[in-house]
């Protein structure tokens, strides 16, 4: 009965909102005909004013750096919440072996998998660093590069198995990386304040146009965001993986290591 009531409420609200939605859609400007003045101003002014060629990265890290700081703290809060929820309920004592589900065969990792994963993880790691480094001249940046690095580190788990993977990828290094990235971002905003200028003011030398290290404080913020995102995402995935591990005190009869 509850599902029927819910479906009835859904259709009633959809019927009530449909004319309003249609009125809004009819009032929107035609697709592709509208030029937003702020965007046009950014495209016209920023290459000469900041010496970078990626306008999106300039808006993210310099013009609207305060908004990106808010997003960064959202990332930090979400990662902290996930870790506290999962680790708090589970405790710290887990072994390196997985819980064996009944009726599920345990497949051996083939040598081809291990080899391909080693190559691919290394390639992905360097590709992520490349995308993050070139964020201010070509499409890319700290956010994309950080997530690529995190997925490269995850590919290592597929090839190495859990125990080896945990010895390579340590939780403490990841939390340090994440916190250091966020702290660096806050410092880039706070140091100009201490020097008597506006917050997030670009105080470093700007460099030449289309150079890799042009942009002043944007380079620092880019690197900080890459570290923080890489550390945060790998930490989240690590905590979820720990959920599937058997606790240390349990020993099944006939269970290996």
């Amino acid at each position: 009965m509850r599902t029927r009531f819910r479906a009835a409420a859904l259709t009633a609200s959809a019927a009530a909102l449909f004319p309003a939605a249609w009125a809004v859609i009819a009032a929107m400007p035609p697709f592709g005909e509208h030029v937003s003045p702020y965007g046009a101003a950014v495209n016209a002014v920023v290459p000469a004013a900041r010496h970078v060629s990626n306008m999106v990265a300039a808006v993210n890290f310099d013009l609207r750096g305060l908004d990106t700081l808010g997003e960064e703290s959202m990332l930090l809060c979400a990662v902290t919440g996930t870790v506290v929820l999962l680790r708090g309920a589970r405790g710290e004592g887990t072994s390196g072996s997985a819980v064996r589900l009944p009726g599920r065969a345990v497949a051996q990792r083939s040598d081809a998998t291990i080899l391909v994963c080693r190559f691919a993880a290394t390639l992905l790691f360097f590709f992520g660093v490349y995308v993050a480094l070139h964020g201010l001249v070509t499409p890319g940046g700290g956010f994309q590069g950080g997530v690529i690095i995190a997925s490269g580190l995850l590919l290592l788990y597929l090839g190495e198995g859990y125990a080896h993977w945990r010895s390579i990828v340590r939780g403490r290094i990841l939390s340090f990386l994440e916190g250091a990235g966020a702290l660096l971002f806050v410092l880039v905003g706070a140091i100009p304040l201490a020097l008597g200028k506006a917050a997030f003011r670009n105080i470093l030398p700007l460099g030449t146009f289309r150079d890799l290290y042009a942009g002043g404080t944007m380079v620092v913020v880019n690197a900080a965001v890459a570290c923080a995102v890489a550390g945060g995402f790998t930490l989240i995935l690590l905590e979820f993986m720990e959920e599937t591990r058997a606790p240390e005190t349990e020993r099944e009869p006939g269970e290996g290591g």
Binding site: G141, F143, V147
Partner: protein, 82 residues
């Protein structure tokens, strides 16, 4: 030409979203999420947004399905343990 490309990508994105919702089994929904991420990133390319498309490929087709897979594994493990 660009008009047709953008229009077709928009329609395919709408269909991919519908597919994600209509896959009720979470294990099947993971594949639908991968397809949704890929289609959305192609749409963002057509809308002249390469940064956003890069972001959507990595997040929508790699990280989010992986998160779902590991969450389902954690739920299955908790079901075994109790």
């Amino acid at each position: 030409m660009m008009i047709w490309l953008t229009g077709i990508m928009l329609v395919i994105a709408a269909a991919a979203g519908l597919l994600v919702v209509l896959s009720r089994d979470p294990k099947r929904q993971i594949f639908a999420l991968c397809a949704n991420g890929l289609v959305l990133s192609l749409l963002f390319f057509a809308l002249q947004a390469p940064d956003v498309a890069l972001s959507e490929i990595v997040v929508g087709a790699v990280v989010v399905p992986l998160l779902f897979l590991v969450a389902l594994a954690a739920v299955a493990v908790a079901r075994v343990r109790e």
